[in-house]
Amino acid sequence: MTTPTDNAMLASRAASAIAITPMTMAKELEAARAKISGGLRRLAEISEDLAIATVPRDEVWREDMVRLYRCKPVVDKPHAVPVLITYALVGRFQMIDLEADRSLVRKLLAEGFDVYFIDWGMPSRAQRWLTIDDYVSGYLDHCVDVIRERSQQDTINMLGICQGGVFTACYAALFPEKVRAVAFTVTPIDFHGDKNDPQTGSGYMNQWARALTHDDIDALVEAYGTAPGSMVGFAFLMMNPVSNLTKYTIDLIDVMGDEAKLLNFLRMERWIADRPDHPGEVLRQWFKDLYQDNKLIKNELVLGERTVDLRNITMPVLNIYATGDTIIPVSCSKGVGGHFGTKDYTEIAVPGGHIGTFVGSKAQKILAPSLADWFKARSGP
C-alpha cells in the first residue's frame, strides 16, 4: 500500500528523468502536426485503388454464401497436388492477400503451387443455425471434393489458419483419406494450454470464455443469434485497449508522414473493418466445447454424429505458430505433435503476432518459404 508521501517521493524521482523543455516540446509537436498535415493532404489525393485481395482468380464452386476460388497459376505447370487455404470465420480471407508484396497466396503461386481458397462469405441471420459440422462436413468437404475432381488427385494439401486451422484439423481427422498433408498456422489445438503458462496480455479471450458458464454462452447465442461482426471486432480491439487508442493517435503520426506506411495502414484498416457476423451455433460450440471444455485435444469433440479423433491425422503435419501471438497463446499451439497420429510432425516458430504472421516483414520471409518447402517435400513434383 503506497502512501501520498511515497507517491510524492516517487513523482519527484520520476520528474528528474524528464528533460522536456518548452522549446523542445514545441519543436517536436510542431513537427508531428506537420506530418499529420502532410498525411491529410496525401489522404485527399489518394488515387490508388485501396482494394485488397486482388490476386487473379476464378470462382469454381459456390453454395449459400460460401465461395471456392482457384487462383490463376503463375507457372506453366503447377505442382500436381493443389493446396486449399481455409481461413477463419471471424475475419475475411483477404488477410492472405492483403497487398501484392504482402501476400501469402502470391508467394505460394510463385513457388509453383495450384492454390485454392475458401471465402466463407457474410453469414446472415438465416445462417444462425450453421454448426461447425456444417462447415467441416458440409462446405469444406464439398470444396475438397471439387478440388480433387478438378485436379484428378485422390488427396490434396490443406492449409488452415487460426479458426480455419481448427476446422482443417477436424476435417483431416474425419476425412483423412482425402488429405495428403496438412499445415496449421496460428491454430489453437490445446485451448487450455495457457493455463499452464499464463502470460499477462495474452490469452484474454481464453480466460474470459472460461470465466463464463455454459448458461452464459447459451444466453449469448440466444440473445444475438449471429454475433455481429462489429461485436467481434470490438472483442479484438478491447484485448489491447490502450495501444489500440495510441494506434489512432500518436502512432498515427509516423504513419501519416510516410506514404507507403499510410497505404499499408489503410489496407489493414479496410480488412479489420470487414468483419462478418458469426453464426450463433458455431459460436456456442466454439466457446463451450473448445474454450471451456477443451474437447479437441481430448478427442471428445463431436461433429454431427462423429467424434473428432486427432489420432486419425496420420498424414504429415506442419504446425506454425507466432512467438508474439497474444490472441492464440503460443502454449495453445506449440508442442501438440504428440496428439496427432502422424510420425511426420514439424513445428516452426515465426516472429511477430497473430496477424503479423501473414503481413509482418520478418514473418513473411519465413512463412511462405517454409510452407512451400514443406509441401513440396511431401507431395512430389
Binding site: L10, R13, I20, M25, D134, A219, P228, P241, L252, A273
Partner: protein
C-alpha cells in the same frame, strides 16, 4: 462502401469518440468531433475515419503544446507529472501545483475508455451508445416508462377506447377476465417493462463495479510509469520527448490494464457486465416480442424456427450428396472399361 462497413462504422464511431478522453488523460482538450475541413467527408471508408483520427490528434497536440509550455516554464517536469496524476484519484502528488488549470473532472473521467470487451462491444453491436454518465444511463428507463404507458394506452384503445384508469380498474376487479378481453398484452408489457428497468439497474451496477476496476488500472499504470522514470533517473537516463513520454504511459497503463482484467476479480467483473448486458438485451427482446405477438407479426423466434427447419433440410440434402469417387479407382475403372456403381 465495403461489405460490413456499416457495422464497422459503429466501431469507429465509438473508438474515435474515446480519443478526447484519451487525450484528456494528458491534459489536452479535444472536441469529440474535430472538423476536418471537409477532407474526411470526401474520402472513402476507412480513409475518412483515419482523417478524423489524425485531425483530432493534431488538435490534441496543439492543445498539449499550449497547456504544457507555461507549466513546464513555471514548474518544470514535476508540474507535468502533477497534471497527469491529477486525473487519477489518490495519485496526485501534493506539490507543485500546476500553473495551468487542469481539465475539468468531467473531461478527466474516463470510465469507458478502457472498458474491455463486452460493455462496449455490446453497446456497439446493439447500436446503443455507451452511457456517458450515470444520468444518461437512466434515459432508457424513462423511455421505457413512456413506451410502456403508450402501449397500455394503445391496448385500451384497441378494446374500444377504454381509458387506462378503466383498464387498471377492470384488471384489479376481474383479474383473469381482463386477459379474455384482450388486456393481457398490456399487463404482460407492464411486467416486462419492470423487468427491463431491473435489468438496466443491474447493468449500471455491473458497469460501475467495472469502471472502478478500470480506474484502479489507470492509477496503477501511472504509478508504474513513474517507477520506470525513477529507474531511468537512477541510471542517468533522460527522456526529452513528450510523445515518447505518452508512449511510455500507454505501455505502462496497458500492462496494468491487462494485469487487473486478467486477475480473478477482473474476470469476475467482466463476466458480471456480460451477464447484465445479455439480460438487458433479452428483456428488451421479450418486450418487443409481446408487441409482435399481439399485432400478429412474425417474431425473431418465428424466423429462427423457419431458418432452423431450412438448415435441417439442407443437412438432409447434404447427406444425400454422392461422395466424390476416388480418382485412382475411377481411373482404374476407365482403364478396365467398366462403370462405377449407379447411385440414386
Amino acid at each position: 462502401m465495403i461489405p460490413g462497413a456499416a457495422g464497422a462504422q459503429s466501431v469507429y464511431d465509438y473508438w474515435l469518440g474515446m480519443l478526447p478522453q484519451f487525450f484528456a488523460q494528458m491534459g489536452a482538450a479535444v472536441k469529440p468531433a474535430a472538423p476536418t475541413n471537409g477532407i474526411a467527408d470526401a474520402l472513402p471508408f476507412p480513409a475518412d475515419q483515419v482523417a478524423k483520427a489524425a485531425t483530432m490528434t493534431s488538435d490534441a497536440l496543439q492543445s498539449i503544446a499550449q497547456s504544457y509550455a507555461p507549466m513546464l516554464q513555471a514548474a518544470g517536469a514535476p508540474g507535468l507529472l502533477a497534471q497527469w496524476a491529477a486525473s487519477i484519484p489518490g495519485l496526485a502528488p501534493p506539490q507543485p501545483k500546476p500553473v495551468v488549470a487542469a481539465p475539468s473532472a468531467a473531461a478527466m473521467a474516463i470510465p469507458w475508455m478502457t472498458m474491455p470487451f463486452t460493455p462496449a462491444m455490446m453497446a456497439a453491436a446493439t447500436g446503443n451508445a455507451v452511457p456517458a454518465s450515470p444520468a444518461a444511463a437512466w434515459l432508457p428507463m424513462q423511455q421505457m416508462q413512456q413506451m410502456q404507458k403508450a402501449w397500455a394506452d394503445l391496448g385500451s384503445q384497441l378494446i374500444g377506447g377504454a381509458s387506462q384508469t378503466y383498464t387498471t380498474a377492470l384488471d384489479r376487479t376481474f383479474g383473469a377476465l381482463s386477459d379474455a378481453l384482450g388486456l393481457g398484452p398490456a399487463r404482460r408489457l407492464q411486467a416486462s417493462g419492470q423487468q427491463i428497468m431491473a435489468a438496466v439497474i443491474a447493468q449500471n451496477e455491473a458497469r460501475a463495479a467495472y469502471g472502478m476496476l478500470v480506474q484502479s488500472a489507470l492509477a496503477a499504470g501511472l504509478q508504474r510509469m513513474m517507477a520506470r522514470l525513477a529507474d531511468m533517473a537512477q541510471n542517468n537516463e533522460r527522456i526529452d520527448s513528450v510523445l515518447a513520454l505518452i508512449r511510455m504511459w500507454a505501455v505502462a497503463t496497458e500492462e496494468a490494464v491487462h494485469e487487473i482484467l486478467q486477475s480473478e476479480r477482473g474476470l469476475e467483473a467482466t463476466s458480471a457486465v456480460t451477464r447484465a448486458g445479455l439480460n438487458y438485451r433479452r428483456q428488451m427482446q421479450g418486450f418487443a416480442s409481446i408487441i409482435a405477438d399481439t399485432l400478429d407479426m412474425a417474431t425473431r423466434r418465428d424466423l429462427d424456427d423457419a431458418y432452423r427447419e431450412i438448415q435441417a433440410l439442407k443437412r438432409e440434402l447434404r447427406s444425400m450428396r454422392r461422395p466424390a469417387t476416388p480418382v485412382s479407382s475411377s481411373a482404374k475403372r476407365r482403364a478396365r472399361g467398366t462403370k462405377g456403381p449407379t447411385i440414386k
